[in-house]
Symmetry: C2
DNA sequence: CTTAATGCAAAGGCTTTGCAGAGAC
DNA sequence: GTCTCTGCAAAGCCTTTGCATTAAG
């Protein structure tokens, strides 16, 4: 079975599992996000899809990403103002952030451990930790 | 000696220490940022200044904040797209982030410790860690 | 007097919205 | 046939920019 079909199938199942129609635009957005090494912006994805001669509009890419986000299929990362990236990895994990190139790399969750975390404010529930390790290659 | 004068004086020294003219707009932006319990956006500050009947323009607030950022007198935080906040605390520290209200609270650095951090990519220099502990009060 | 900072208004980039047409079921 | 999604273009929001005016040293 060819891997592209397998991916497409999984993506379709994921969409349908959330009660979402598996339209070609949605399938392609989620599939490419999952297939990409990098974390992509809405515009990155739009450019990819247009480059692949697909019929899609910018608005649909934005709307689709928001829809996927609402359904927990992708998460949003905002590292620079005006640079919103989407991360298809819904498992706990952290990030390297190159402060010069703005490149993002994943760090598996087991590479970061805490000896202590702060006491939560009264009445608060823990919802997760975001850890961004900032690095530079310029010294 | 009245505390407002003391604050103003410290802020002026900080600006001059970086070779920046201590104009009334710059002094007030930095002073209010330091005096605030919350982390403020450019527009929050603009509204505060206008409310205090000061002569200032939006452009100057934005330009001043960027200037302060370049000189390391404040740091920028981007937690939601379109919500850039400025943090006058230049000591290492982390943040609580209320996912419902988008409120930000400081966590002193000594409340968070790591048992391990990931090996850096080849040739990379460590530039810091951002830790955001996400919380909710809705359960 | 010379240099630098401010204010205004216009432009810019990214994202969302409204509505008509196309597509899914 | 009905309901939903898509595409287009326009509007929105936040931020930056250019240039004349004003303030600082």
């Amino acid at each position: 079975m060819d891997p592209t079909f397998a991916q497409r199938d999984t993506v379709e199942s994921a969409l349908k599992g959330h009660g979402l129609q598996a339209t070609s635009q949605r399938v392609e957005v989620l599939r490419r996000l999952r297939a990409s090494e990098r974390h992509l912006s809405a515009d990155d994805l739009y450019a990819e899809l247009i480059g692949a001669k697909m019929k899609v509009s910018r608005a649909t890419v934005y709307n689709t990403l928001n829809l996927l986000k609402e359904h927990g299929l992708v998460s949003e990362m905002v590292l620079d103002p005006g640079r919103v990236l989407f991360d298809p990895n819904t498992e706990p994990h952290y990030h390297f952030y190159d402060v010069d190139t703005h490149e993002i790399t994943d760090v598996p969750a087991d590479k970061v451990g805490f000896t202590c975390l702060p006491l939560l404010p009264e009445g608060a529930t823990f919802k997760g930790v975001d850890v961004v390790v900032k690095i530079s290659r310029r010294g």
